[in-house]
């Protein structure tokens, strides 16, 4: 029996029961589709996070107070540190030839008031170099002025959301607002930039670091952002940063330096694992579809007992019958998988339509994996019914009407 006849016979057998065949195809198709769409979502999330890191700026190193012994874990957001990072530490880093820019960051919260409106706002104390390091852009006015960073200056730059809430559509430039007990003049408004690393840059007020020290009455920094001179300089920068801080902290190695690449790699790993896990869960539906195929094929075998008996009588060997029924299962899973591919393409397009900002991407391996799992499920679960058919006793099979 040649392959074309085999396919034709299967096709006729399957199209003879359109509802049953349709349902099996649907189950297989949904399984394949869910694997592909879910992995695409996972991959999209990974790329989204990667994009977020890129928006942080380039060749960035983050210096955190405190030592984190384990590598690859989350940075110590909170925790006891023996020695604070200070503005002086930050300025000392500039001595390294590998370091291009340095932006200390102090974070606090204070009430901001203007014309009777008041609200708690996250205050970011930094320097003018933050602008380049974080790749910010202005909607209005200018960023913190260059000059002596150690001198408090009563000027501030508002995030876009804060500006809208305090001033509405009026221009805030030159207006005086109150932050805590102090008066500041608004000199600029940040452009809308969205989230980056969990900090919503539209919902902050940026002031001079020295002013923030005075405002919060402390000198400890939240972190220091360092921009290396180039991609090649990142490793050298990390080494010198550690050396400089260690020297300044009485030989104590008590800071953590995270490179953007290392951070990105960590998140990459997390998201790939997540994608695999979600894909694996979806693959279970493929196995369920395989079991469904087995069930329905078993029913088909008992419904077509006389047919099997007849085929044997006209000269089909047990092997040929086995092949016929296996081919039917394979045909089902192949067509179902193809349908699933089409379905997932449609699903991805739809998601892209609804969430244009989300970079949904189908990783190349996932359709291949989904289709091969679907096929092997169909074949593995097709073996049992096919064997049952091939072992039917033709005399008994034909004695039924």
């Amino acid at each position: 029996m040649n392959i074309r006849d085999l396919i034709r016979f299967c096709f006729r057998a399957l199209s003879g029961y359109p509802l049953r065949t349709g349902l099996m195809l649907l189950a297989m198709g949904m399984g394949v589709c869910s694997v592909i769409v879910l992995t695409a979502l996972g991959e999209g999330a990974r790329q989204y996070v990667a994009g977020q890191f890129k928006s942080l700026g380039t060749h960035i190193l983050i210096v955190l107070p405190g030592r984190n012994e384990t590598t690859g874990g989350p940075p110590p957001m909170m925790g006891e540190t023996p020695r604070d990072l200070t503005m002086a530490d930050a300025m000392a880093l500039k001595r390294s030839s590998a370091v291009h820019r340095v932006a200390p960051i102090m974070v606090g919260s204070a009430p901001v008031a203007y014309a009777g409106r008041e609200r708690e706002v996250t205050i970011l104390g930094s320097t003018h170099e933050l602008f380049q390091i974080r790749d910010l852009s202005m909607a209005q006015g200018r960023f913190l002025p260059e000059g002596d960073v150690r001198r408090p200056e009563a000027v501030c730059v508002a995030g876009y959301k804060i500006k809208t809430e305090l001033f509405g559509n009026a221009s805030p430039l030159g207006q005086f607002i109150r932050i805590g007990e102090r008066r500041f003049r608004v000199i600029g408004v940040l452009a809308r930039k969205g989230q980056s690393l969990g900090l919503d840059m539209s919902d902050v007020m940026v002031i001079n670091e020295a002013s923030a020290e005075a405002l919060f009455n402390r000198s400890s920094l939240f972190r220091i952002l360092v921009q290396a001179r180039g991609r090649d300089a990142v490793g050298r920068a990390k080494k010198t940063i550690l050396e400089i801080i260690q020297k300044r902290h009485d030989g104590e190695d008590d800071v953590t330096v995270i490179t953007q690449d290392a951070l990105l790699a960590t998140f990459d790993r997390i998201f790939i694992t997540l994608t695999l896990a979600v894909g694996g869960i979806a693959a279970i539906s493929l196995i369920v579809a395989g079991i469904l195929i087995m069930n329905v094929m078993l029913i088909a075998v008992s419904q077509r007992t006389t047919e099997v008996g007849l085929l044997k009588a006209i000269g089909a060997s047990g092997r040929q019958i086995l092949k016929l029924f296996l081919a039917e299962s394979a045909f089902l899973s192949l067509v179902g998988a193809t349908g699933g591919l089409a379905l997932s393409a449609g699903g991805c397009l739809l998601i892209q339509r609804i969430f244009p900002a989300f970079p949904i991407t189908v990783p190349l391996w996932s359709p291949a994996a989904a289709v091969s799992v679907a096929l092997s499920c169909g074949l593995i679960f097709g073996v049992l019914p096919a064997r049952k058919a091939s072992r039917l006793d033709p005399v008994a099979a034909l004695s039924r009407r």
Binding site: N2, R12, L310, A313, G315, L398
Partner: protein
């Protein structure tokens, strides 16, 4: 030329605790071109004998030679090979595959044998014409009359040009006139040299055969043309 030789065939079935002898001490030789009817009451073992002749069933003991091949020693694959090329079955209930057209049903043995499509079509066309089914080729079995279905089944049984036609009550499900058509078709094949073995319990039908075998309780009790 002798094509079938059975020696001391016995076939037992286990029914509950009891052993039932469906066939007992059966000796049978058939020459090429013979026209044989096997008659007997129900349960006399005639269908079992036919199934063993057609290699659908294996005897419990005894030797069955088909064209000098000892079939009892053949594998499933080799037996299927003989069924495909040397034996044609005609059943009481036709056993046409309902989703396939008459022509596709007739074509099936050629498909299983791996015959190439171009040659298949011509052979199917010829044989349907011979059995008067040319205008019914594209009809499905449920669109055919009983007589037409059985003729399609005969076409399927003979398309491989087998040595033997085994017919199990071929008219049992037909009215008299279409039954006659079917018998005539079978007898025409016999007149062209095909060996025909016909199981029936209709005496009138059985009398038409040149050699008549009577069975009772799994034994051959009379054989009008035995050649031991």
């Amino acid at each position: 030329m002798r094509i079938i030789h059975m020696e001391d065939i016995q076939r037992d079935f286990q029914v509950g605790d009891e052993k039932v002898h469906a066939l007992h001490n059966v000796h049978l030789s058939i020459n090429g071109g013979e026209y044989i009817s096997i008659m007997g009451p129900s349960g006399s073992g005639k269908s079992t004998l036919l199934n063993i002749l057609g290699l659908l069933d294996r005897p419990s003991t005894g030797i069955y030679r088909f064209e000098d091949t000892n079939t009892t020693k053949l594998s499933d694959l080799q037996q299927a090979e003989i069924r495909r090329h040397k034996i044609g079955f005609v059943f009481q209930f036709f056993h046409l595959i309902p989703r396939l057209t008459a022509a596709e049903n007739v074509e099936l043995p050629l498909v299983l044998a791996g015959e190439e499509p171009g040659r298949r079509k011509q052979r199917v066309k010829d044989i349907l014409a011979r059995l008067g089914l040319s205008d019914r080729a594209r009809h499905r079995p449920d669109q055919l009359s009983g007589g037409q279905r059985q003729r399609a089944a005969i076409a399927r049984a003979t398309i491989m040009n087998p040595a033997v036609i085994l017919a199990d009550e071929p008219t049992g499900n037909l009215d008299r006139s279409s039954g006659n058509d079917v018998i005539q078709a079978i007898e025409t094949l016999n007149s062209e040299g095909m060996t025909v073995v016909l199981v029936t319990h209709d005496p009138e039908l059985g009398e038409r055969a040149r050699r008549r075998i009577q069975m009772v309780d799994g034994r051959i009790v009379s054989d009008s043309g035995g050649h031991e």
